[in-house]
Symmetry: C2
Subunit: 254 residues, 2 copies
């Protein structure tokens, strides 16, 4: 059946195969189930293994499959909705934000960050590392860049690094009054340390959420948050009007 | 030089190579310039071609390189900021939105869309196709799913398909009063028709922005917009407070 359908398709072969595989995932497999090996799958659909691999890669990009070394290819659960609006990415250190401080170092930031912060290229800044867990899974790793000018009274505090230092930086940051924030989302690849924290291989596709926090008329801090792209769907709340949307999952399912 | 540094690195080889290549891009190449071929690059950094290819793939994911068949690998310009907030993704058909109607068909939507629209799985809906151009480049292709219930008076209109039909659907949609919208961003792979419109290969990584428009207490329309992930950085305006951020690029550059 696979072969016949493939030959009449105007799209690339692997693309049509992807559609057939996707249908098979819906009808024959359940979440978490391990797929047959590549040789068996290629034989079933009458395609070369290279074609099969392309189709599997697409399904992985779309979040339908998880592929992990040593485990094999499994059917992925639907992506989690992870809120990345102003509540979850609140002014860092505010009560109830979604992030756990992990560490704090002092180093020269990447050139693009220095530009955004309007600091000199060689000027070291505080780099607070935070992590975010959702539904019991690590979903994001953040680097929060804070220039000295935003935390002028920090030097009086003892802890030189670690979570205590991170909390101290956040506490000082809270003295400034947030005036606004701008957010951007783009595709990236996981840096080695982020990948480790997120249980992914280095270089895995990730969604990078950059937030510029403005206080006292300038960029007071810059957050670069790396979200798992395989398991996460980033959600933004209502932004056109102040009306709440009351459709919950229970209503959508009815 | 490349080899020595690579051997002392704790990260995967291609990862460290990526950093070296990235530095070379900053210091030796200009935007649009074609990179040396893979053999020469591999020789220069003392790595296998497979390692080089992995590093090039990472740089492509990060938007630093463009790789196109027949052209080769070129240095990419910085990604464009493309606004995807409530202004650019306004209630479809509203004056001044960012989208051009291209076509309109009537078909059964994907299962996930039917669920979001709360329509029966087999119920056909109007599918308006629109496109978005920014800075002279096609940046996104949209499918807007509109159930019959949202445009009850549409049948009186003549044009059965094409841009005229699309405009008719949007006009009817405007009769409803928008109550709110919810947006989500996730990673996807370009469908064949979107890829063609966006000048990409099918399966290229894309950012999929899904917007649920709520009117009369239910989902009145669902927009699935596919943005180029290589050239676009999706920007969201201020959402925590109503304060405008006045930092323009001219200020950031100073």
């Amino acid at each position: 059946m696979g072969t016949l359908q493939l030959e009449s398709a105007p799209e690339p072969k692997y693309w049509h195969l992807k559609t057939l595989l996707s249908q098979a995932l819906d009808s024959e497999f359940s979440v978490g189930e391990i797929l047959p090996n590549e040789r068996d799958l290629a034989a079933r659909f009458g395609v070369a293994r290279a074609t099969l691999r392309q189709a599997l890669e697409q399904l992985e990009l779309e979040g339908r499959l998880h592929r992990r070394r040593g485990v094999g290819t499994t059917v992925a659960p639907p992506r989690m909705g992870v809120a990345v609006g102003a509540t979850a990415h609140a002014w860092p250190g505010a009560a109830g934000d979604a992030w756990q401080p992990v560490d704090c170092t002092r180093a020269t930031p990447p050139a693009a960050v220095a530009t955004d912060l309007d600091t000199d290229a060689e000027e070291p800044v505080h780099i607070v590392r935070r992590s975010r867990v959702s539904h019991g899974q690590p979903v994001a790793a953040e680097l929060l860049y804070v220039p000295d000018a935003s935390v002028p009274d920090l030097s009086a505090i003892d802890a030189p690094s670690g979570p205590a230092r991170a909390r101290a930086v956040l506490r000082e940051l809270q003295r400034l009054e947030l005036e606004g924030q701008e957010r951007a989302v783009e595709l990236g690849s996981a840096r080695a340390d982020d990948a480790k924290e997120l249980d992914r291989l280095p270089g895995a596709p990730v969604l990078v959420v950059t937030t510029r926090y403005v206080a006292a008329g300038r960029t007071a801090a810059l957050s670069v948050a790396t979200y798992r792209a395989d398991t996460c769907r980033l959600t933004f709340g209502d932004s056109s009007s102040e009306v709440e949307i009351h459709h919950g999952p229970e209503q959508r399912a009815s």
